[in-house]
């Protein structure tokens, strides 16, 4: 019986204490007609040796290619110390810190995390995380609608990841919130200010500004922020946290800064692992903190005046407010945030900046070489962070398949989402890529194109 410690004498002594003739008798309140028979689709149990063999064989069926796909999930070096500490049982097997005195480790980590994220985004406060970047964007939209108190429309550029737009739509549409798509400029790949101007005077709660956007291109965040604020709307910054080591923090956009910043925390020490678990971060201005969803940690003092940490502002949350809560969210991605905090502590501002700039430099070098092939060109002329769109002279799917046959994941085919771009791939080279890796990409691309 895996993980059940009872001996036969234990069972008998316990039944005697309860006054029940058998374990089965403990289920006598369940109507007999409902009792389950055999579980047919569940295989026989395995011991650890057997399941290790099974999983090792399954893992061996997964082929790891040299990866140049980003698109919202990025391959970065993760210091060994991060996951060795994160998987300590004291972090790994603790619950949400409801009993603050017995959870000061988790609570202090979360307070340090909130400090780091508030600083990275240049905003006043951070929550203790949400599920992931895409669902976090949806929560930011709901928050903006609550804060704006009136409009139920959100302007969202087409240069935001199509996956994120799809997730946000799934979540916010049930509250009758409309997402209004703003087209991008064909030459820059950034939000079209002329198109945006057509929304002037219309009633909307917020403008989403992605930086970098899905194409890796850098938006004119100052102008966009100014425009939205002049319209009386909030600004939701959708940012890559690693990029903030290099790029202007959302709190500094325009004259007054973005109001809310959200994004995917995965670049900060979380492995790719097929897409999860990751974490969504959310920061905002002080004035909006009571509209923020999710757990928030505050510093306070104990009976003896000693500093300590506790869950705070719980009056926003479902377990207190029930139907009137800011969100139904009950958890945060605590373990992922623990990893991100240790990651940022180990790299520091200097390491984070070097990681960001090395990723930027690798992508610059890669696209420069790729564009020497006839017919391969940059889709957009704007500045980029560590990702960009290449247009190809042959169908993207064929080129990528041929590159994969040579062991290279050459990028993401985005033609289906953006037919106007023709044969187009989104390419990313992070700091993990060596000069030899870049050369392997170029060689694979050359073969695929000839």
């Amino acid at each position: 019986m895996p993980f059940i410690p009872h001996t036969e004498p234990d069972i008998q002594a316990m039944l005697a204490s309860v006054g029940a003739p058998s374990i089965d008798a403990l289920f006598d309140e369940i109507p007999a007609a409902l009792r389950t028979g055999k579980l047919n689709a569940v295989p026989e149990g395995m011991n650890e040796m057997q399941v290790t063999r099974l999983m090792t064989e399954r893992a061996a069926q997964d082929v790891t290619l040299l990866n140049f796909i980003g698109a919202g999930a990025y391959e970065h070096h993760i210091p060994s110390a991060v996951w060795q500490i994160v998987t300590r049982g004291e972090f790994y097997t603790a619950y949400t810190p409801y009993q603050a005195e017995a959870s000061q480790g988790t609570l202090q980590v979360l307070y340090e995390y909130q400090t780091m994220m508030a600083s990275l985004t240049g905003l006043d406060v951070s929550n203790a995380s949400l599920y992931d970047g895409a669902s976090g964007l949806a929560e930011a939209m709901l928050m903006a609608v609550r804060a704006h108190k009136g409009a139920r429309r959100i302007l969202i550029p087409a240069s935001v990841s199509p996956i994120y737009r799809s997730v946000a739509h799934s979540i916010v549409r049930l509250q009758d919130i409309e997402l209004v798509e703003i087209p991008f400029d064909a030459s820059t790949g950034t939000t079209d200010l002329t198109a945006l101007q057509q929304q002037a005077g219309s009633d909307f709660a917020a403008l989403v500004i992605p930086q970098p956007n899905f194409f890796g291109a850098l938006e004119d965040v100052d102008a966009l922020t100014q425009w939205a604020h002049a319209q009386g709307a909030l600004v939701i910054a959708l940012v890559n946290p690693l990029s903030l080591a290099l790029l202007k923090a959302p709190g500094q956009w325009g004259a007054n800064g973005a109001d809310i910043a959200v994004g995917e925390g995965q670049p900060l020490g979380i492995p790719l692992s097929s897409g999860g678990p990751y974490f969504g971060f959310m920061c905002c201005k002080q004035a909006l903190v009571r509209q923020m969803p999710g757990r928030i940690i505050g510093r306070t003092v104990d009976l003896d005046g000693k500093q300590g940490y506790t869950l705070t502002l719980q009056a926003r949350e479902q377990h207190i407010r029930r139907a009137k809560a800011t969100s139904n969210i009950c958890s945060n991605q605590g373990l992922m945030v623990t990893a991100a905090t240790i990651y940022m502590a180990l790299t520091g501002a200097d390491g984070l900046r070097r990681t960001a700039s090395a990723s930027h430099a690798n992508t610059q070098a890669l696209v420069e070489k790729a564009c020497t092939f006839p017919g391969v060109k940059l889709a957009f002329k704007s500045a980029r962070f560590h990702e960009t769109v290449l247009q190809l002279p042959k169908p993207a799917a064929d080129v990528l398949a041929k590159m994969a046959a040579q062991g290279v994941l050459g990028g993401l085919d985005i033609g289906a989402h953006y037919p106007q771009l023709g044969s187009a791939i989104l390419v990313c080279a992070t700091e993990t890529k060596t000069a030899e890796d870049l050369q392997r990409y170029i060689t694979a691309l050359q073969h695929a194109l000839t």
């Binding site: 059940i4 064989e57 790891t64 994120y164 799809s166 100052d222």
Partner: protein, 483 residues
Amino acid sequence: MLIFERSHPGRRNAAQAPLLDAQPSGIPAALLRTDKPLLPETSEMDTVRHYTRLSQKNFSIDTNFYPLGSCTMKYNPRACNSLAMLPQFLARHPLAPDRTGQGFLACMHDLQEILKDVTGMAGVSLTPMAGAQGEFAGIAMIRAYHDARGDTARTEIIVPDAAHGTNPATAVMCGYTVKEIPTDREGDVDLDALRAAVGPQTAGLMLTNPSTLGVFEKQIQDIQKIVHDAGGLLYYDGANLNAILGKVKPGDMGFDVIHMNLHKTFSTPHGGGGPGAGAVGVGKRLLPFMPIPLAGKEGNAYRWLTEKDLPQSIGRLSAWMGNAGVLLRAYVYARMLGAEGMHRVADFATLNANYLMAELAKVGYTIAFPQRRASHEFIVSAKALKDATGISAMDVAKRLLDKGFHAPTTYFPMLVAECLLIEPTETESKETMDAFVAAMKEIWDEAHATPDLVKGAPYTLPVRRLDDVKAARELDLAWKPNA
């Protein structure tokens, strides 16, 4: 001490930074950052010590009995962690072609099949990232079902007053209004109130069974009939699935849709608050509406099923496919248990709860529903103790921490005064529970002899009771230098 207070300007951890220190080329100055973010400048060793020491300030399953009701704090097998972290699983990009992830996809497909069987549902989607998101998916599917039939007058979700707070909050997020119905003296749903509540406006009922009161809802067949006859659908909150795993299938009870907290019943770690995984199961009527992606199998090959395969899906709830690594852990656990192991989960979770309830009653504690069997958890009310000694449920909880036990869930469900919701889980031994009972006996005696001692607890933890009012009034949510 905070990590920021261990920071020294100019100290670098060179081992964790790229060698290249290039200035970014081609980015306009107006878009660049000019200030340095507030991140610590510490050595790797100091950082490792800092976070290792912080970990030691936590209670956890690996270090303490953690009988937190409704949270199912059972042992998290280490094999689940190490096998989910095999390098090929960690390295796989979510957008890598399906054919490069056949091993991972096979695990996800198998897990869907296992969960279908144990819940008695027709389909399972693994994508919701937590119980609350599973609830969202479930209620969104109920709405999609009614909408697809043109049955748009159904605007109300019925929720018993004993429900988790996520239930009413979810119904609101899905655009519904909430109708709350009371619980009867036995801890069951008040059937008359339910009959009075249903009507053409009823979209569905959300029910936890066994309920948060720790008892099996005996009248489930009647409830099922009342809701279905009114045209509503039945939602099963799987928070307490551990109590019936292998004993009763929610599908057999008549539920149309369920979510499972895999971080409870399938033993994935709670991680200090997450990540969880809130897989949803559906009956035949809701199959077309499941959240995507699903793991599909064609011949011997696996692939993700998307919008193209399920055009009526409620859509995507996460950027990729939910908390993949958590799902791998749940899969390893399910394979280790096997069919026999799953039958035994409910057996021993229930035996432990009933034993602990009987032993605490012998000490003198008031059991909220003494006439009922405990499911996998039960409620002690400290009201009589408080009336006699002034010692509240919170005082008992804090004093338990001094004795090395994590506290039970306190003040939930709100229906029972001075409530302690206690769930031992099946993985605890008799000796551990006996030690817990002994601690509760000591606290009982202290409450009567030296109540001030109990009111001042805890004394042995890194901090004593914290000032929550100050925390909320004088918000300090981020450290500031020179503050």
